[in-house]
Subunit: 105 residues, 2 copies
């Protein structure tokens, strides 16, 4: 299971069969910087780059950044589901992706 930002990017990229150049082209970033992101843990990319990368890899930025705790309590299921169904297609898709990914970690 990948845990750092770099590991996640590398895994997702390779799973898609992209080279660094491929991903660089799609994300408006240089391949040298992508390499640093994957291999040097101390990098802190901008939200903009993160957005491009997340999109190219089909995940959300929240998944890449993998935040920490946040207060929790029970969910009202029906209300939840009704709300979900009213979302725009793009947003639905994103929610779905997050659920898929988080379910695996």
């Amino acid at each position: 299971m990948p845990t750092t930002l770099g590991q996640k990017i590398k895994k997702l990229r390779q799973d898609k069969g992209y080279s660094l150049d491929d991903l660089a082209r799609e994300t408006e970033t240089s391949k040298s910087y992508l390499w640093e992101l994957e291999n040097r843990d101390e990098r802190k990319p901008s939200g903009e780059k993160l957005t491009n990368i997340a999109q190219a890899l089909g995940v959300t930025t929240d998944y890449l950044l993998d935040e920490k705790a946040s207060p929790d309590e029970a969910v009202l299921r029906e209300a939840f589901f009704r709300k979900y169904n009213k979302l725009e297609p793009d947003d639905k898709e994103k929610i779905k992706q997050m659920i898929d990914l988080w379910g695996k970690k």
Copy 2:
């Protein structure tokens, strides 16, 4: 409806009754920089800052960054919902937040 990153931060912050100093303390950033984020459109904060800010304001980074399209097609609802229920509480909470926010835009 706030549209830029700065507008969103400002609105959320003020709605919570926070001063720039308050938010700065909670998010590991300087108030001067927060001011720039709110008032100068050309700023590009790091994912790290974004994460802190999003958390302090109770939203996701994806909401703050408001990405663009992503491929879409039908969702298998039951599977979807079963998966959702298996998530960790923290993650459930995040999904819920996103749905709430996106439902309003």
